[in-house]
Structure formats: structure tokens, C-alpha cells
């Protein structure tokens, strides 16, 4: 079986997997990173969303071979030294969840959204999160949480450029300049 070195949450992980095994299965089954959830297995519900080179990606349809060179961030990698990421903090304060199963994916999709669009309108938020399903119907609060997180991130990073792009990630995983080269599976998953 081929082996891959995956860079996840700033750490390198050696995993043995078939080329077409999904990133989600490797995260959950091999690395016990279960914060990315299985919801549908076809990129429709967004519960498995992670960041791949700073872009939101459905890990259930991303082949492990396609993300082997990428920087991957999962929900487990967002908080730093026990301090929640502003998006996590906003979701917690607004209580933008009921059963919580979609929350990891919602938070990751929001982090990706705010990276490229620090001041999203409600319509921007609905568009960006439209493929993340919340079956409990917490949509209004999720939008509220995203707005709150955006506000705080803007306040915390006044140096956000005129292009709206945030400075390098406070997570310390490094942000490639310009548009990251996305693996094909990731691009497909984006659509």
C-alpha cells in the first residue's frame, strides 16, 4: 500500500492508504481526528469540511493522493493553546448549534470564507455555507455567529489589506501568497 506524508494541523503524519482513499477516512480512521464528521460521503452536507491550503474542502470526496502536498487544517487544529479561534468563540457565544454534528464543518467553512471575504453580507454567508447542511435548522444563528466572528477578526487585524485578504494565519501554518494551487479533488469539492 502506498504511503503518504500528510501535513495536518502543522504536524507531519505518515499514513498508509490507497490512492483513492478519502482524506476523511484517513483523518478519522488512521489519525483519530474525528472532529470532521461523516454525513453523506458525497460532498453534499459539508460535515467533513476541512481546510486544504486555506480553502474549504469536503474531505469525504478528497482523495488522499491529491492532498499529500497540501497544508491541511482540521477543527482540532484551530484553537491555539486552549484559546478558541474567533470563529469557534463566536459559534459558542451565539450558540450556533443544536446537536452540533454540522458544527465542525460550519466553523471550517466560515474560517475559509472570512479569509477571502472579511466583510461578508448575509447573502455572501448564505452562498458560502449553502452546501453545509444544518438539519436542526440553526441557520439564523449560524449567520449571526459568522457576522460576529467577522467583526472580531476585522477588529483584531486592522492591517487587512484593501484586497480584503487577511495577513498570514495566526495559526502559524504559513499561508502561501496569492491563490493557492488547489489539488483537483479539492477544486471539484469546491464546486
Amino acid at each position: 500500500m502506498p504511503s503518504y506524508t500528510l501535513r495536518i494541523n502543522g504536524k507531519a503524519h505518515e499514513v498508509e492508504a490507497e490512492a483513492d482513499d478519502t482524506l476523511l477516512s484517513v483523518l478519522r480512521d488512521d489519525l483519530d481526528l474525528t472532529g470532521a464528521r461523516y454525513g453523506c460521503g458525497e460532498g453534499q452536507c459539508g460535515s467533513c469540511t476541512v481546510l486544504v491550503d486555506n480553502r474549504a474542502m469536503r474531505s469525504c470526496v478528497a482523495r488522499v493522493s491529491a492532498v499529500a502536498k497540501a497544508q491541511i487544517v482540521t477543527i482540532e487544529g484551530l484553537a491555539t493553546n486552549g484559546t478558541l479561534h474567533p470563529v469557534q468563540q463566536a459559534f459558542l457565544e451565539v450558540e450556533a448549534f443544536q446537536c452540533g454534528y454540522c458544527t465542525s464543518g460550519m466553523v471550517m467553512a466560515t474560517v475559509a470564507l472570512l479569509r477571502t471575504n472579511p466583510s461578508p453580507t448575509d447573502a455572501d454567508i448564505a452562498r458560502a455555507l449553502d452546501r453545509n447542511v444544518c438539519r436542526c435548522g440553526t441557520h439564523a444563528r449560524i449567520v449571526k455567529a459568522v457576522r460576529l466572528a467577522a467583526e472580531r477578526l476585522r477588529a483584531a487585524t486592522p492591517s487587512a489589506g484593501a484586497d480584503g485578504r487577511l495577513p498570514p494565519s495566526p495559526l502559524g501554518f504559513g499561508v502561501p501568497s496569492g491563490e493557492p494551487a488547489l489539488p483537483r479533488a479539492a477544486q471539484e469539492a469546491q464546486r
Binding site: 454525513g39 478558541l84 446537536c99 452562498r127 439564523a140 449567520v143
Partner: protein, 713 residues
Amino acid sequence: MNAHHDDTIEVERYELSSPSTYLFEMERRTFLAIFGVLGSGLLVAATQARAQESGRGGERSAPTDVMAWIHVNEDGRVTGYTGKTEIGQNIRTSLAQAIADELHVPLDRVSLVMADTDLVPFDQGTFGSLSTPRMAPVLARAAATAREMLIDRAAERLGAPRASLRCDAGQIAGGGRSVTFGDLVKGRQLTGVVPADAPLMPRSAWKVRGTAAPKVDGRSFVTGEHRYTPDLTRPGMLHGRVLRPQGYTGTLATFDDSAARAMDGVTVVRDGNFAGVVAPSARVARRAAAAVKAEWTVPDGLPSSTTVYDHLQGRDRSPSGPSSTTAAGRGSTPTQTGDPAKARAAAARTFTATYRIPYIAHVPLEPRAAVAEWEGEKLTVWTGTQRPFGVRSELATAFRMPEERVRVIVPDTGSAYGGKHTGEHAVEAARLAKAAGRPVKVVWSRPEEFSFGYLRPAGVIEIAAAVDAEGRLTAWEFDNWNSGGSGIATPYDVPNVRTQFHPADSPLRQGSYRGLAATANHHAREMQMDAIARALGVDAVEYRLRHLTNDRLRAVLQAAAKAAGWPKPSVEGRGLGIACGTEKGSYIATAAEVSRTDNVLKVERLVVAYECGAIVNPDGLRHQVEGAVVQGLGGALFEAITFANGAITNGNMAKYRVPRFKDVAPMEVVLLDRQDLPSVGAGETPIVCVAPAIGSAARALGAVADALPVRFV
């Protein structure tokens, strides 16, 4: 289909009122065992809320109907034990609020052990919106009893008169001295039983209840740390996968597992119609299952999603035979007042219609999953279910063992909406674990969820109504085939009424759903009321009010109409519709504003007025109301299971659309807080008027089908 299975859960499915059947002997043993484990402290057993209603000076004998218990330990921490499950409705928080309030301890000092059948008393299950009306008062009463016992002990300890003591923040003070709960119970094994006349704080004294407490363990959801059943691992655990027919049904005909058996570490299990594989990883299990060559025979002549309505009414069978013979007799007795047939014959106008309700799926984001572990003769299963004791019973039956040797533990679950009452996945995991001799985890795929879970029943509803020359309703006949009896009675004042539920032979596996049949019955009734008002040229709110004497229902209808700006939509060219109803003791009215582009219907705005007695946690209540309404949007606008030739044809999330961000219209929720009335459950009722509000709004813009989902014809 699934005849045997259907019989066993029929009562709960339609009525949710089957009596408890547990054995007290077991409860007492469990009770003592817990105490043994906890070692010391104060343990109070709580009985049913109705004990209080039996009057003062009620029996003080041993509890025969223990529903929950509360333990105060040496550190002054309080733990409530209940069989209820946390499925996103946030009762882990609201039940803790009830305990904290009555015991006068900070909320963070209270925790709950929920739905572990070895540690909690029997519970029917978490459904029917009963946790708040039934379990909260039970735990509150136990907490109040514990408080009084602690004050008794404090009076002794402090040598102060009882009346001079003050209980606050987990300690009791008086005469310049104080003692903590922990000190009072240290080194002791104190037990108490809630007396029938246990005093409860009046609503006006609530400090913790009635406030928007943050969700207990909320942080573990935003960090991804919470472990749902699919996230659990056990030492040495293997992964299982069940082999399924191509469609939703079939009999295993041929089976060749040679390729799968040749795979490293793979075990294949075949037991009658059950077949599955066990492997060291979930990925290998998937490959092994795919390597098994199995063929299933599917019976001919099964109904499809277009022929199912005739099938449910028995119209696709020979005219000589009685319809729905197997199911007839249960619930098929009509409820009748007056003589509707005669009234109809004498009426000025009659209005008849037939409404069709499709099967819909729950689609809880956490699929069915279970981890099963055998230790000798003892079986432990972790699984997300609304009925831990029901699943325990299913497991005991499946493996012919006493229930005491089965333990079911329910991690806080990724939602259910009525869809997780059964334990087939638990049985599957246990069967595979037994064969493998190791713990086994089974996680259903989304397509398995659609085809092998169960659905909200499809139904046909026929209404025949009649009005006199003044337009007043004189007759109301309402027949429901298959979708169920919940919410079937009309709240409107009509002198001649006949209501009948006709159970039928469902081709698809069906069961409970948020709001049960009340959604179907409200849709048909409210759409019919709207149709009659339109035909008579009377305002739809005014027409309803003319037939309503129930003040609570009138209040929500008027509140929704007012907030919606009835009768004019907020934007010209849109349609505004309204519907109201009552179910499970609470009252709802929903107004919807819709727009039309070609034949596409869009919900632009929703207004909900809701009253469910005294509000316990306003923030949590709002959450439940909003969630129920959003879920209702799916069934109102696009959800419907399609099937043919023994297979569901839209059984995945790419084909089966559930509400998404763009579907969710701005929503205004008006909560009527009736502090003078007991709290009733709120997780379901707000769903029931969403579809008829939208349907009647759509009628302002064109004719709509007498069916769900709502669509223009």
C-alpha cells in the same frame, strides 16, 4: 413489510403513550448498585410527577415508579440520572437548570448522567415532547427533596432552628455559621424518596430556569472534541459493514464470499438473511463488503411513489377483499359527534378534497451507528438512539439473553427528529462483534440511512365539509389513511364531526417523525379551512376565529396575524398565508409570505406565534421553534421519497434535498409566555403549520395541488 417489527412499535409510533412495562425489582437493584458505586453522599429517588397530584400526605412507601435520581457527593457536586437522551434539543442544559434552581447550587456544579441503562432508571424514550413537561418536574422535585433533607441535617449540625437557615450556592447558613452540602453528606450514605407532596419553587422564584443558560458542554462541539457514536473507539475494536440488497427489500438468494474471506483480517458473517463483514479498518470493511458477491430477490408488484396512495386506501386490491385487512381494527374506530352525513345533505354548500402526503426522511446528520462489545456474557452497546431501553430490549431479544446483561449507552447524539427509535444497527454491530470476538463498530452510510431506516408515513386524507347559508361550518368529516392519528381532531367548533384514522399496509418502513402525523393532519385541515374561507369570500383569520372558542388558540392566531401585518403581505405581489393548530398541549400559528417566479415558489418571510405554557429556557425554546420551522420547510417545499420496484430512487443527499441556507427565510418568532400554566414540550408542535401557511400563501398566487410538497398546478 416488516410486519412483526411494525407490530412491536405500533403503539408508540402513532400515539406515543404506551404504558411503562419495566420491572421494579430491577430498578431497585440498579438503584442500590449505583449507590454502591458512588460510595457516599445523598441519593434521592424521584417518582413520577403525578405523585404530587395524588394529594398531600401521599404514600411514603418504596418507589414503584422511579423515573430519575439525584446524587449529591462529598464535593458538593450534584448529578442527575435520567434515561432521557440529548439529541440536540438541549435538555442536558434545561434539566440541569431545573436541578440547580431547586437545590440552590450554581449551574456548573450540576451534571447529568443520561441514557446509560446500567446507571439510570427505565425510561420510555425521548420523544413526544415529554422531557420538559415530565422529566424536568421530576428532577426538580428530587432536587427540592434533597434540598429539604440537607436543610434538616444542617439544622441539626448547626444547632439552629430550621426556619432561620438560608440555603444558597451549595451551602446552608444560619446563626453566623455555615456548612456546605459536601460537609453535610461526607462519609454518609443518605437516601431519600421524593414525597408525594414535595414542595416546588413557584415560577416567580425561578432563578436559573427561565434564563438563557449556555449549552452544557457547548465548547466540545465547537472544538470537534465531542465524540458521537461514529467517533468512538474501543481497545481492539474492528469495523463492520452489513451487506444489503440493492433496494430497500430483498431475500438473500446467492452468496459467494470467497474473495472477501481471502482478505487480510476479514471475517464474513452469514446468519439467515443477515450477512456482514468485519475488518481491521472501516476502509477494508468497505472493500470486503464490495468483494462479496450476493444476490437478492425482490418481490414483484410492489407499489411505487405514484401508486402508493391507491395502495394505502386499498384501491389497488381486488374489490371483493376488504382493504388493509392486516392493519384494520387498530385505531379505525371513528370519533363522531352529531350526524355529519345528515348535516351535509342539508347544507348550503359542501367542500370535499383529497390530500396526498408523501413519505419523507429524517436525514439526521449523524447516521445510525453502534459500537458493540461482549465481555463474557455481558453485552455493552454505545449507540445514538432516542430509546436506550427499547434498544436494550431489542438486543436482549435478538440474542436471547436477559436485559440485565445488556447495557446501552447513548452518547449525546447528532439529532434524531423521531428517526432513531429502533436499534437494528445495534443488533448488527452486536452480531458482528459476537462473531469476531472483538468490539465492532458499524456506521451506516447515508444511502443505508435512506433505504433501511424508516420514514415518516405517507398518507391520504379525505375531507368532506359543509356550511350553512351563513357560511358557518355544519359538518366536518376527516379520514386519514396511514399517516396517523396525531393532531387529527379539529379544534374548530363544528356541530357534526366524524374523524377516522385508517391504518394501512405501508410498503416502506415507516415510523415516528418530529410532530408525527400532526403535520399531515394540520396541512389538510388548514388548507381546507383556507379553501372554504376563500370560496365564501371571508377573511381566513376571521373565518377561523368565528369557529374558535379556545382562548389559547385564538391568542396565537391573532398574535401571528398581527405580527405578519395580516391581511396584506409586506411586499406587493407576494402571497400571505396563515395556519394555526394545537398539538401536544401547545398552540401554534404560522404565517408565511411567498413569491412566485414561473412555477417556482419561494418563501420570503415567516412569522410564528407559539405558546407552550411557562417558558423554561427562552433561548432554548426559540432554538427549538426555529429548528422545527426550518425542518418543516423541507416537507412543505421539496422533500418526498420517490420509489419504484422495491428501491428508493432518490436515496442520497444529492437527490434528496433538505433545507439549506438559501431556503431559510427571515423568521420572526413571537413567544407567548404563560407563567400561570405548566410547561409543555416544544420541540415538535412548531413544525405542524409551516406547510399550510405556505400552501395558503401560494394560493394567493395560483392554484396549488392538494398535496405535499406544495406546488403550483
